[in-house]
Amino acid sequence: MTATTITPEVVAQHQLTPAEYQKIVDILGREPSYTELGIFSVMWSEHCSYKSSRLHLKKLPTRGKLVVQGPGENAGIVDIGGGYVIAFKIESHNHPSFIEPFQGAATGVGGILRDIFTMGARPIAVMDSLRFGRLDDPQTGPRNRRILAGVVSGIAHYGNCFGVPTVGGECLFEPCYDGNPLVNVFALGVSKKEDIFYAKAAGVGNPVIYVGARTGRDGIHGASMASAEFTEESKQKRPNVQVGDPFMEKLLLEACLEAMQTGAIVGIQDMGAAGLTCSTCEMGSRGEVGIEIELDKVPQRETGMTPYEIMLSESQERMLLVADKGREDEVFAVFRKWGLAASEIGIVTGDGKLRVKHHGAVVAEIPNRELADEAPLYDRPHVAQVRSLPEGALPEVPVQEALPKLLAAPDITSKRWIWEQYDYQVRTNTIAGPERADAAILRIKETGSSIAMALDGNGRYCYLSPGEGARLAVAECCRNLSTVGAEPVAATNCLNFGNPERPEIMAQLVEAIEAIAEACRFFETPITGGNVSLYNETLGEGIYPTPVLGIVGLLPTAAPVTVPFKNAGRSVILLGGAGECDEVRFGGTEYAKEIAGQLWGLPPALDMEREKRVQAAIREIVAEGLAESAHDLSDGGLAVALAECCFSKAGIGAQVDLASDLRPEILLFHEGPSRILLSTANAHRVREIAEKHGVEAPVIGLTMEKGLEIRQRTQTLGAWDIGTLASTYGQSLEASLG
C-alpha cells in the first residue's frame, strides 16, 4: 500500500475544514495517518456526529415515566408494562435512495432493523415516510416514477424477506423532492425488560467478535456522502450505496437474539454508517474502555483491501460484539448453528483508545472518547428568511367537482398500490394495517395489550412556518393515535432539512426543533431518539423543511376502531366542530395546492390546549365502545374525511348538513386540526363525554345505505355516488404510474 500524503486537498476531499483538521492534530498530538484521517472524517461527518444539530437537539424532552432509554443508544426504549418494553427509532436513507432507489431503500430498512435487534428486541413492525417529486411532471415525472417504484420494491424486498410487517406510513409529493426523495423508516421491536442489550464494551481482556457478512469495498464513505449536497457528480457515487441481503439479516437477527440468551454477551452494536469504525469507537467510548483490533482477522470479501477501506466500508449485515472471556465458545456455537461466520478480531483494553493493526503494525491509534463524542459542535448562524408569498385567490370551482379532484390528488389518493407490495401481516400481530384506521395497531402477544403507531409530517406547512408545521405534525400524530383509542406515550423524529450552512435553512431547523420540543412536552411524548438528515439539496435547491414524527401509543387489545362507516342510520358527529379558518390559513391546504395551484399564507392554526381536550374526549369515547368508526380530519379537510369514511365493501354513505356560515370551499376543505369525524349509535353519550372535556360535538348528519350528500344550511353543495368516488380514490396512484 502506498501511503497517501495528507495535503489540504486531501483534507478537503474528506469534507473536513482546516479547523477540524487542526483539532485532529491536537487530539493526536501529531499529524494523522491517511487511515486515521478517514476514520475521523466519517465519525465527524454530519451524519454521524450531528455537529450542526446537536446543540439544538438538547432542547428536546427525553425523559418520561415510561422511558427506559432515551437518545444515545441504537434505539429508544419504553416500558409497556407486563415486564416488556418496546425499542423503536426512525432513520433516513434519503441520499442512497436517490442514487440507487431499490438498494438505497432496502438497506435503509436493514439498517434500522439492526438498530432494533442490537438492543435485544425482536422487530415487529415497520412504517415508512416517503417523499417524491410529482409523478405527472412532464420533465421529472418519469424519473420520479422510477424512483418511487424502486424505493417501494426495495422496502418490500427487504422487509418481506426479513419477516417484519410494514404496517403503514405516508407518501407525499412535491416538486422540491424531485432531486432529493425522502425515505424515512420507522421500526419497532419488543423485548422482555431484563433482556435489553446495550452497545457498550466492558471488561479489559474480553474478546471483540465480528459476525455476519464479509467486508467489501461497498459503501465506503456513505456517511460522508449523506453529509453533502448533491451535484451532477453525485450520480457517480453509486458504488457508495450498499447492497442489502435480507436473508443474511434474518439469520443475524435469530442468531443474535439466541446468542444474547446465553448470557455470554457483554455488549453489541451493529455496523451501520461508518461500519467498523463507528461500532468500535462508540462501544469503547460508552464503556470508557479501549478496543484493539487486527484487520487481518476481519473477514473480507475482496483481496488487497487497505486498512482505510476496511475501516470505512459500509457493507451491510454485520455486527460487532464483546463477549465474556472464556465463554466465547457459547457465542460461536449459536452463530455456527445459524450458518454465520463469527471471528474474534480483537480485545477490550484499558487505555481508552481505538487501536487498529494491519499485518501486526499499528495503522491507527485514536482516543475513543474524543473520536466518538467530541466531534466539532457548531452553533451555526440561523436567520429566518422573510418570505413574501403572493396571496392566493380562491378559484370558483364547484364543490361537486372539487371533491373528486382532491380524492385523485397524489397526496390524498389511496396508496394501496404501494402497501399491497408490503407484507403487512407477517407475525400475525397486525390488528389494523395500512389505511384501515388512523394509526396502525399491533397486538403484543406476550402482554395481551396492544400498541399503536403513527407517522406524520407536512413539508408544505413547515415551509410556510417551520414552527407551526412541526407542532401540527406532533399534534396530528398524537391525534391519529388517540382516534384509535391509544394513549400517546413516546416519540421519535426524523429531521430532513437542506444545507445547515445556509442561515435560512439553519433557522428552519432550529425553529422546528424548538417547536417539536414544545409540543412533545405538552403532549407528554418524550423523544427517545431519532435521526437528522441535512444537506437534502440538489444543485442548490433545498427541500421543504420536513420533520417527520413517529409516535407510539398504548391501548387494550380489542377489535380496532377503523375509518369506514359500518351501519346506516347512525349519527355522524364532528368532534371538535367545523372549526374556523381564514384565507391566510387556507394557503397551505391540499385545496390550495391542487385546485388553486398555489401555496400562500400560513398553515392551519393549532390551539394545543383544545387539541389535548379533543384527544382526551375521543380516547374516552373509544374506550366506552361508542365509536363505530372514527377518522381525524387532515389533508383535504372535512369533505375528504367524509368521503374516506364511505370507502368500504359495504359502501355505507352519509347525508350531512353543516350549520356554518363559512364560505363553502373553506368550510369543506380547510385543514384546521383538532377535529375527528365519528359515527355512533349513541350520540347522546358521545356528546356528554365531549361536553365534559369542553369540546364541541355537533351531530352533522346520518349515515345512509348509499351515496354521500353534503349540505350547508339545507342547501346541497354536492352529492356523489360512492362507487365512483371510491374508484377515483382507489385507482389514481396506479393510473399515474402508468
Binding site: N160, C161, F247, L251, W338, Q425, V426, R443
Partner: protein, 222 residues
C-alpha cells in the same frame, strides 16, 4: 394432537403457524430445525411461509436438499399429513411431493391482500371440516404464487379431485384459479394463501382455522 413446524433458515411464518395451532386451535406444537434427520413424535407437519435459504436460485430450490426434507418425505410416504403454506408450498413442489410449479405473479409484484377462496374439495384431511364451495376469507402474501402446470397435469388434478382451493378473484394468474392442491394420496397439501393468518378474529378473519380443524378431525378419526 401434536404439530411439527419445520424451521428453515429464512422461514418467517414459523411462529405464526405455531401460534395458530397452539393458541387458536389449542393443540400441541413444536419447532423442528432444518438439519434434523427425524421429525420425532408428531401427528402432522407444517412447512411454514417465509424465504427458506433466502429463496436464492429459485423459491424452495435449496430447501428441498435440507436434511429434514428426507424425514418429511418419509413421513408423507407413511401417510402422515403434510401442509405447506406459501413458501412451504413452493418447497413441496420443488421437492417433488406436489406437481407443477409456482412462478412469478402475473403482475410481477409482491401482493399482500385478503381475498376469497372457494373450498374445491372436502375429501382431504385439510378440508374435511369445511363445506364444498364454502367461501373463506384468507390473505395471500407472495411474489411468486402463480400456479403453473401443463394441461395434462391440470386435467389430472381436476379429474382426481385434487384441487383443494380456488381463488374467486385470481390475484396472480394461477392456472384455473388454483390456490391449493393435494397429492395423489391426499395427505400432502400445498396452498399459497395463509390460513394461519386467518385463525383469530382479531386478525380480521378466522376462516382459515378450518384447515387446522380439519387436520384435528382427521387425527381424531384416524
Amino acid at each position: 394432537m401434536r404439530f411439527g413446524v419445520i424451521v428453515f433458515p429464512g422461514s418467517n411464518c414459523d411462529h405464526d403457524a405455531f401460534y395458530a395451532v397452539s393458541q387458536n386451535l389449542g393443540q400441541q406444537a413444536e419447532f423442528i430445525w432444518h438439519d434434523s434427520a427425524s421429525l420425532g413424535p408428531v401427528d402432522a407437519v407444517i412447512l411454514p411461509g417465509g424465504f427458506a435459504y433466502g429463496d436464492y436460485l429459485r423459491c424452495g430450490a435449496i430447501a428441498k436438499f435440507s436434511p429434514v426434507m428426507q424425514a418429511v418425505k418419509r413421513f408423507a410416504a407413511e401417510g402422515g399429513p403434510v401442509l405447506g403454506i406459501c413458501n412451504g408450498f413452493q418447497v413441496l413442489v420443488e421437492a417433488g411431493l406436489l406437481p407443477g410449479a409456482l412462478i412469478r405473479n402475473q403482475g410481477l409484484k409482491f401482493i399482500c391482500r385478503e381475498l376469497r377462496l372457494a373450498v374445491a374439495t372436502t375429501q382431504s384431511p385439510f378440508t374435511n371440516a369445511a363445506e364444498l364451495g364454502q367461501v373463506l376469507r384468507v390473505p395471500i402474501a407472495h411474489g411468486e404464487g402463480c400456479y403453473y402446470a401443463d394441461e395434462r397435469t391440470l386435467d389430472e388434478l381436476e379429474a382426481e379431485d385434487r384441487v383443494a382451493f380456488r381463488y374467486l378473484d385470481n390475484p396472480n394468474g394461477s392456472l384455473r384459479g388454483i390456490a391449493g392442491i393435494l397429492s395423489r394420496e391426499r395427505n400432502v397439501m400445498g396452498m399459497m394463501p395463509h390460513p394461519e393468518r386467518a385463525s383469530d378474529p382479531l386478525m380480521g378473519s378466522s376462516d382459515g382455522l378450518v384447515v387446522f380443524e380439519s387436520l384435528l378431525r382427521a387425527a381424531v378419526h384416524a
